[in-house]
Amino acid sequence: MIRALALFLLLAALPARAETVVAGLSLDEIGITARFDGSEVLIYGAVRRDAPEPDGPPLQVIVTLEGPAGAVTIRKKSREAGIWINTEQVGVAATPSYYAVASTGPLADILDPAEDVRQRISVPLAVRAFSGPLEVADARPFTEALLRIREAEGLYSLSEGSVVLVEGTLFRADFRLPANLVEGDYKTRIFLLRGGIVIDAHRAALPVHKVGIERTIFMLSRQNPLVYGLLSLFIAVVAGWAASAAFRFLRS
């Protein structure tokens, strides 16, 4: 009892975290419908202070948005007997299907490299965090290709300076999600930094799933492939017959 009380007093005597983050998302979830062509997500928040803003390096904010992970096989072509064929491959057990970083400034200036390793914030570190052991001795060109291709597709991105911090208190980050989204729980992380060190972090989830007729079709194809296949054939046969009959009717 005395020991517990002593511990409590000790904890209370520690300085409280001076700055914490309070944040929200513009959407609770993203529904993929027939007309889905991507989505804008706004992540906003405020910095709560128990004391006046401390002196020293200015406050920085980094926001990340990460899609569900999936396995990827990276294949490399080389020229064999005059034609280009896949000769080498590296399997990555899990890598995020989407990963975007937005920050108030260049990561090199606002994020300590050691802190980046700890929190896995920058794109290469976040992607490699999942990779695990690789099959090929020199897998580096393969992981670089993964980053390069996904960046070109807009699935991995880094936009330095896109987070707006107003009066050192309010901030917002805008993300543009592409149309070819993978379903699942997207995770967002918000980091407050001073002098390259993370002083507070906040996490939130953003579910993305198909809704309406798309969901019905998708679920049918997975849960009852026989019915789905027959339905596809039925539509094909009826459409073929209907077109033929319609043209015969038009000609007569």
């Binding site: 999936g70 990276i74 080389s78 280009w84 296949g229």
Partner: protein
């Protein structure tokens, strides 16, 4: 007008898909080919994942073939017994082809095999047809020249299990049609096509069928082989996208009707040269892709986790 495809998981312009289906449908009606050999590479090109393109392409081929065959049935230009014999081989071949497809996909060589098959078969058939078409065209311009013999007796006619095919006016062994059906079935499954573009010349040059029943009979058996392939894909890898298929079908069936009407008006020689040029163009494009240094040596193949 962008539309989200639930299985392909991409958003594509619906009008583009309708137009694509329409153009391929016209070709289907004109030449008696399912059009899969054009629609599958075109779907890759607009960003549909290859697995979905192959499976959905075969579903679309079912619709355009049904539409086309009805017009040919009305003109009694379908040899149904011959179609059934070809079908026996075709279904067996498609089954073997799907097995090979899954094996090659696991090895990561499916793209190469698909492209090489296209280059080889399209190139060969395109050249054969171009040669034949040009020869026939010259003949019509210089009447009185030597004519090819209508019935040639060679080894095909000396095999056992003979059967009468009334509509084709043939009395031949069932072994060659079953073998032709099997080979076309294997290629159809691996290349993600109906196989009409191989079937049609094989019927003319190997089986010696008269041109007037070839297209209808090919369409007839392509319906069933494609239906089999569609079901196999729906059951094994769930990659048939019914929304994508519906858009291609709506465009395709209308196009197929237009194509069938056109085929009655155009001359056979012109048609053959036209198809040969088309086939050679696709073959050349695919050959270049294999020979030229690709812009990106690496490629990603995502395995979907659910």
């Amino acid at each position: 007008m962008l539309i989200y495809l639930p299985i392909a998981e991409v958003a594509v312009n619906a009008l583009l898909l309708l137009g694509l289906g329409g153009v391929v449908g016209v070709l289907s009606g004109l030449f008696g080919v399912g059009g899969g050999f054009l629609i599958t590479p075109l779907l890759f090109f607009i960003g549909i994942p290859p697995g979905v393109a192959v499976a959905t392409g075969s579903n679309q081929v079912v619709a355009s073939s049904v539409s086309g065959v009805l017009a040919h049935l009305k003109r009694k230009a379908v040899d149904i017994p011959m179609g059934l014999v070809l079908l026996v081989g075709g279904v067996a071949g498609a089954g073997a082809g799907i097995f090979a497809f899954n094996y090659l996909q696991a090895l990561g060589q499916i793209d190469l095999v698909v492209q090489l098959s296209y280059v080889l078969f399209l190139g060969l058939i395109g050249l054969l047809m171009a040669q034949e078409g040009v020869r026939a065209w010259r003949r019509t311009r210089r009447p009185g020249g030597p004519r090819a013999k209508r019935h040639q007796h060679h080894w095909v006619h000396n095999l056992p299990l003979k059967m009468k095919f009334r509509a084709s006016g043939l009395y031949i062994s069932v072994i060659p049609p079953v073998a032709v059906g099997f080979i076309v079935g294997v290629l159809a499954a691996i290349m993600g096509v109906g196989g009409g573009f191989i079937m049609v010349p094989a019927m003319i040059y190997i089986l010696g069928m008269p041109t007037k029943v070839v297209i209808g009979t090919s369409l007839f058996q392509v319906i069933f082989v494609s239906a089999f392939t569609t079901m196999a894909h729906a059951l094994t890898n769930q990659s048939v996208d019914v929304v994508l298929a519906l858009l291609l079908i709506v465009g395709g069936v209308v196009g197929a009707q237009i194509g069938t009407r056109l085929s009655g008006r155009l001359k056979a020689e012109q048609l053959r040269i036209l198809l040969a040029a088309l086939v050679l163009a696709v073959a050349a494009k695919l050959a270049l892709d294999l020979l030229l240094t690709p812009a990106e040596l690496y490629s990603l193949h995502a395995t979907v986790l659910r």
